[in-house]
Symmetry: C2
Subunit: 403 residues, 2 copies
């Protein structure tokens, strides 16, 4: 275990402690301890199918290096019979920084190895030019490093999550309609600026990675997360991993052509789910029918709550098309649980009933047994997803864009 | 390795040679040899991430028991430098029987461990009652066992594939619209009748398993197979395995609500893909517009080939809605390759153009780079899928319904 000298002049450029997991078995064992700890060796053996000897071989160096600790004192005497000595990770032995890039704001968080948020920072941005965004991301990271102090040396990497088509391996934002970007080598630019490994990830995939290791995925065999807000996205966890898409595209539930042809989407296509159900589309519909172009989203929500017929109709339409899209996804992929996660606004009451109605109508056979759970996500959660992606890449030894 | 005495009185009840792979590493190594063989030990080490010692430990008993052979004579001297001694399975060391149940026919095949068809049998059925189907499956299996002779003792199990919602673990056909079945414990019934382990699988999933291990999946990281005919189904291979669906339902592309509401589907819903694009729907549309209820599917195809406007329109409509459904699936799941597999009829020319047009129109961003490959499947291929499912379950040590 690396211990930090308080006299170290520049904690930022110091290399973080090296977590080196050289075999698939070591990765598997560490992942179990990270995501399921505290966990006994017997349970690791059972869950991984590895022999006890193989588990011990994998665990010993992790304890020596300070990434894993044995909870002996804690458990001894608590349960009758043989003591359990469960294993858990040292949450601060490695840290992560995650940044979510929005069109009007950059949000950064510093987290423990278990993706618990320690510090966060929100910086408004005036435009979405690459220069403006890079400057904001660098400021956010500097601020978080300052908050971390000496511990900044323990940061394994910087994760940045962006809406759109992202080439994670190359660190390139291939296409982001939200930012108006095309083929931007963001990973390379930021790795040079920040002198740190950088991981660029699609924002919904990053959120799904956080749920895979530190959320609903810990116990569910398969799950989907559907995010609703300015865009409508979907992350999938199937057969033990997040679905990435062979060409970098997956989970594009917002662009399933399930709405009437007459609705034009911002992507240029007709009949996309987003054309009816994104917060922008809902607002536009209510502004048009009320002939009040000055309405804000909050005004629109208030109108619907007050029973205004056209506002209620717009939210109903959105709920129905989202429910239909969720059914289409469930019929194809068959997840056990679907998290429907709204962006900050708590306005589920306005469409949850329609969403569940449409889902039940279109779910095929026992696909209807999928559990639909509504939840809400803050922008900090999106940034936490980017931090979780760095943690996962570090554990798996997957390459980030090097400094 | 079990050797068969030709004097053995009843080859059928003799237990097949036991392939016992006790650790995940042994399963992984054997799977590589089965699906990628002939393959050198170095390549197995590289592909599995296991140590050379672990590979040798897994391989040795397989060679001793006769499931794996070393191709030393064959390779020595063929390539310069160090000899390779590649490993491959003994294709006849274990056999499999697969049966596909259709509404009017039961098709059975006997295969090698590499799912190569050795014998096949087609038996017409008068109705789809459980009794009629069970009798036909038993006859088909008896006929294949007779064809195999003494080798019948090497059959690891009987796979039966059925369209609909299937509980593979319990061997229960939960719902099959094609057969009019609900909660039929087919696995239990057949295991008792046949005195053999039985595996019941959804037909499209079984076809996908065959492609996973012995087809396009050998080299593709992700793929989808879309089957077109009386029904329209989809099998998905993602993150190293076939997608099963937490509730047994997945790949129901035929019931995505992408067609106009006015089309009523056999499932009772409106606007399903099948309501426009199944062979039955295409035929019904052409019969109605031509006012010729006596037309056969072949007549309808001939009419379209001759340029009959309403026949061409019906195939165009089918092609467009299938292409849209393929795009929806690709946008969600992101496969590298999509096999579009027609049932025997070679009528792709009638809708392939429209299918590709609609796919290109609705594919999102680089999802459009997915390779769409049209191919055709015979009913023997469907039965082979059921045989492949038995092979996979045997290798993985997954439970079948025991005799």
């Amino acid at each position: 275990m690396t211990t930090l000298s308080t006299a170290r002049p520049d904690p930022v450029v110091a290399a973080p402690p090296r977590l080196e997991l050289r075999t698939p078995a070591a990765i598997d064992v560490f992942t179990r301890i990270l995501t399921h700890g505290p966990i006994g060796r017997i349970d690791i053996t059972r869950q991984t199918g590895l022999s006890q000897a193989a588990v011990t071989k994998a665990v010993t160096p992790l304890i020596v290096e300070g990434f894993v600790v044995v909870d002996d004192e804690q458990q001894r005497g608590l349960a009758p019979g043989r003591p359990v000595y469960p294993l858990r990770v040292m949450p601060n032995s490695l840290l992560s920084i995650g940044v979510k890039v929005n069109a009007d704001e950059v949000i950064g968080v510093a987290t423990t190895m278990r993706a618990e948020i320690i510090h966060s920072v929100h910086l408004p941005v005036a435009d979405t030019s690459v220069e403006t965004i890079v400057t904001a991301v660098v400021s956010a990271v500097s601020s978080l490093r300052a908050d971390l102090g000496d511990s900044a040396a323990r940061v394994a990497g910087i994760g940045v999550s962006v809406s759109g088509d992202v080439d994670t391996r190359g660190g390139v934002v291939r296409d982001s309609a939200l930012l108006g970007w095309h083929e931007v080598p963001l990973g390379r630019i930021l790795a040079d600026e920040l002198q740190s490994p950088v991981l660029i990830e699609n924002d919904v995939r990053a959120l799904t990675i956080a749920e895979q290791w530190f959320g609903v995925g810990v116990d569910a065999g398969t799950f989907a997360i559907v995010t609703i807000g300015a865009g409508i996205g979907c992350g999938l966890y199937v057969n033990g991993d997040v679905v990435s898409g062979a060409n970098g595209v997956a989970g594009e539930i917002g662009h399933l052509p399930l709405a009437p042809e007459s609705y034009l989407c911002t992507c240029g296509r007709h009949g996309c789910v987003e054309a009816v159900a994104s917060s922008g589309s809902i607002l536009a519909a209510i502004r048009a029918s009320e002939e009040r172009p000055e309405l804000s989203l909050q005004d629109a929500i208030d109108l619907a709550h007050a029973g205004n017929a056209s506002a209620v109709a717009a939210f109903d339409r959105a709920g129905r098309v989202i429910g239909t899209a969720v059914a289409a996804m469930v019929n194809l992929v068959g997840p056990e649980i679907v998290l429907v996660a709204g962006e900050s606004v708590a306005n589920y009451d306005l469409y949850e009933t329609r969403l569940r109605e449409a889902f039940a109508e279109h779910a095929f056979g026992s696909a209807a047994n999928a559990r639909i759970v509504t939840t809400s996500h803050t922008f900090d959660d999106w940034a936490r997803g980017a931090a979780a992606a760095v943690i996962r890449a570090t554990v798996r030894g997957e390459q980030m864009v090097a400094a």
